[in-house]
Symmetry: C2
DNA sequence: AAGAGACCTGAATCAGGTCTCATGTTTCTC
DNA sequence: GAGAAACATGAGACCTGATTCAGGTCTCTT
């Protein structure tokens, strides 16, 4: 099933329209990451995209809407990356660690995008929540299956998933964004210890 | 040493000035929590505080400044609450869990304030970082001492602290703010399991 | 090559915000 | 109780930025 890309008002777009929409989204990504939502403006986005101001409204109804679209897109990309990586693991711990690795690499490559998600908290609370709920869903599934296979202790998969997701995110923030942009080896090793502790500890 | 409260430009305030400044801060807390930073305005804050627009500038130089002040204040209150609670523990695990409990209670009582911190990410990156660094400092100290006393496994206190702090925050978000406003007992129990696993797992 | 529609434009409009300032009020001090 | 200092005010000057619109241009299709 091919996605039909639409502009504001749901009108279908031709090849050229799709391309312009993509340019606007990329420009928005840049501008929101650099300036933050409050200081980003439609003019700056259209300038960065190289189109006229009016063109913006052919594709998005408002600043809010393009922001939400951006978060959706970013969310899809992170999850895809993590899913691919963790599917290569042979047991839950390995999968979990591969997923973390992918997340850290994504953070290294897209420090700006990482920040965009954080802004969603107040720009678009629904998208903010959507992001974390979709992110946690993958974890929860994985943990449930692992538990059924006896690979973990008697854990609560849901709560555990939220805790692990948060830890990964914060450690990315602390050691990549507030560090030198690269995740140090020792941190990866300690994360492995922490994940193992969380998965194995009995009640 | 008594703090001398100052207004914009560092001028000292009389009793009445201190009171007005406090009213402005409380109003700002309300407005930022309800509307979010982008939609909050000086006018709305002064209205909520019951003072004239011009009065604002007698106390704060800008919207940014009052926001930063608010985060500082909030940060101080959370840490004080957690410190008090955890000091009643007889070992690290107990202290840790008491600290989490205090954090959850704070979140229950101040759902709006919790949100304000998240907004700081872009409004005032320095204050955002300040918040997490001061929050983690307490954890790190506690874990270092516990490790020296042999109460934990061979952990890296710093990385472990950031992971635990993040987990607590996210679980508050998920089960209090996105739940029914109260932390369920089963979640508290699972958090205890998770914290224990993190503190005890060996490399 | 002509008509239809999709696409594009940026000046103009409009809503709302920040911050200043001239003026008035209160409180303190002697 | 008079002068000084602090405090308070809100109209309005000045911005900034979102959004509209009337008038183009491009690109398919036949």
């Amino acid at each position: 099933m091919t996605d039909i890309v639409t502009g504001a008002g749901g009108r279908a777009l031709s090849r050229k329209g799709v391309e312009t929409r993509r340019r606007l989204l990329e420009a928005a990504e840049q501008v929101f990451a650099d300036l933050g939502y409050p200081d980003a403006s439609i003019v700056k986005i259209t300038e960065a995209a190289g189109v006229g101001q009016g063109t913006f409204y052919l594709y998005f109804a408002s600043k809010q809407e393009i922001f939400a679209e951006l978060v959706r897109d970013l969310n899809r990309r992170i999850r895809q990356t993590m899913k691919e990586a963790s599917s290569r693991g042979t047991n839950r711990l390995e999968s979990e660690l591969l997923g973390f690795g992918a997340y850290f690499r994504f953070t290294e490559e897209h420090p700006g995008l990482y920040g965009i998600i954080r802004q969603a908290a107040f720009v678009s609370p629904e998208m903010f929540r959507f992001h974390y709920e979709t992110m946690s869903r993958g974890y929860i599934e994985g943990l449930r299956e692992a538990k059924a296979r006896g690979e973990t202790g008697d854990i609560d998969p849901e709560i555990t998933a939220w805790a692990l997701m948060a830890a990964g995110e914060m450690i990315g923030l602390r050691y990549i964004l507030w560090g030198d942009g690269r995740m140090p080896e020792r941190v990866v090793a300690e994360v492995a210890r922490i994940v193992r502790g969380v998965l194995e500890a009995e009640t």
